[in-house]
Symmetry: C2
C-alpha cells in the first residue's frame, strides 16, 4: 500500500511509520519539515499542494495537530482558535481535500485524544477538537465514497512524552507509543470504519 503519513516525524508518528514499514508498505512522510513532502495542514492551499505532489494513495494518516493549553478562566476565542485551525479543521480538511486522492477501498485515519473522555485541567480546547474529530469520523463513515473507510485513534498520554507532559496528566497511566501505533495499523490494514480506537 502507498501510505501518506502527516506528522510522520513526531513521537507517535515515528512509531506509526515503523509499524507500517514492517509490512512492506510504501510510506510517504509529510509534515512541516516532512522528509518526503512538506505540508502545513492549517492551510488549505498547502494541503492541496501536498496531494497534487503525492498523487493517489491507499491511506492517509494524520498524527499532527495542536491546541493551546489554558484554563477556562484564561481561555479566549483567540487562544481557542489554534485548536480549531490545527487539531480540528486541519484534520478534517485533510479528508475533505484529500478524498479524491484516495484509491477505492482506501482509508483515512485521524487522531483524537484521551482528554475528551478523561478531562484534565487546561485541556478544554484540545478536548473540543478531539470530540469534533471523533463525531465527524463517525458521521462521515456512513457516506464515504468508493468504499473509503475513516477512523480515528484516541491515544492516552504516551510514555515517551511523560517527562515533558506528565505534569498535566496527574494519575494517568501512560502507554507506549508503540502500542498506540498498532491502532493506526488496525485502521489502515483492517476493515473497520467509523471507529475511534481508544488506546488508554
Amino acid at each position: 500500500m502507498k501510505i501518506l503519513i502527516v506528522g510522520a516525524s513526531g513521537t507517535i508518528g515515528s512509531e506509526v511509520t515503523k509499524v507500517l514499514e514492517d509490512n512492506n508498505n510504501e510510506i510517504i512522510r509529510a509534515g512541516r519539515n516532512g522528509a518526503d513532502v512538506t505540508v502545513d495542514h492549517t492551510s488549505e492551499e498547502s494541503i492541496k499542494k501536498m496531494y497534487e505532489t503525492v498523487g493517489k494513495v491507499d491511506a492517509v494518516i494524520n498524527v499532527s495537530g495542536g491546541a493551546n493549553f489554558a484554563s477556562i478562566s484564561e481561555m479566549t476565542p483567540e487562544l481557542n482558535q489554534r485548536g480549531i485551525d490545527s487539531k480540528l479543521k486541519g484534520q478534517i480538511n485533510l479528508v475533505l481535500l484529500g478524498k479524491d486522492y484516495v484509491n477505492d477501498g482506501g482509508s483515512f485515519t485521524l487522531t483524537t485524544g484521551v482528554m475528551m473522555d478523561d478531562p484534565i485541567p487546561l485541556g478544554a480546547s484540545a478536548a473540543m477538537a478531539n470530540g469534533g474529530v471523533r463525531s465527524f469520523v463517525k458521521a462521515a463513515s456512513i457516506e464515504m465514497p468508493r468504499g473509503i473507510r475513516i477512523n480515528s485513534v484516541s491515544p492516552n498520554i504516551v510514555e515517551e512524552s511523560w517527562e515533558r507532559l506528565g505534569g498535566f496528566f496527574a494519575g494517568f497511566n501512560p502507554v507506549p507509543a508503540k502500542r498506540v501505533a498498532l491502532a493506526y495499523k488496525k485502521s489502515v490494514e483492517g476493515a473497520q470504519t467509523g471507529q475511534n480506537y481508544e488506546v488508554y
Copy 2:
C-alpha cells in the same frame, strides 16, 4: 433567576422559554431578531455587546446555531465553515466571552444533537460541531470558575420539525420539543455539571 436565552424564538427555544417562565424566572430573549436583545453569535463583537447590554445573569442558555447539510462527496472546507463558525465556535464563544457575566454558582447550557451519536447522511458537519461542543462542555466543567456549571442538551429531531426535516431522519422517533425543554430546565435549576443530556 435571571436567565439569558439565545435563540429563544426557535422551535426548541420557545419551549425552553415556556418551561422556565413557569417558575417565575426573569427571561431575557436573545437572538438575531431577539425580543429583548439582538445577537449574532458568529461575531465576537456582537456577543460582547449583548453581554454588556444584559449585564450579570444567573444562567445562559444557547439554543441557536447551524451547520450546512451536505454529503461527504460534496462537502468542502467552505461548506464546513458554517458549522465551525456557528454551531461550534458560536456556542463556545458564548461561554468564553460570557463567563465573567455569570453570577457565582450560575450555569451555561449549550446545544448538541443526536446526529453525533446516530449519524444521518449529510450530517457530518453538524455532527462535528455537536461532538466538539460535548467534549468542550465535559472538559470545561472541571475548571469553571466560581462554581459555575456547564452542560449541553442533545436533542433528537423534534416532532415540531418532523414535517420539514423528517426526510433526513429515516427511522427516527421524533420527540416533543416540550420534552427536550425539560433537559434545559434540569441543567439550569438542577446541580449537575459536565453533562450532555441526551433526549432521544
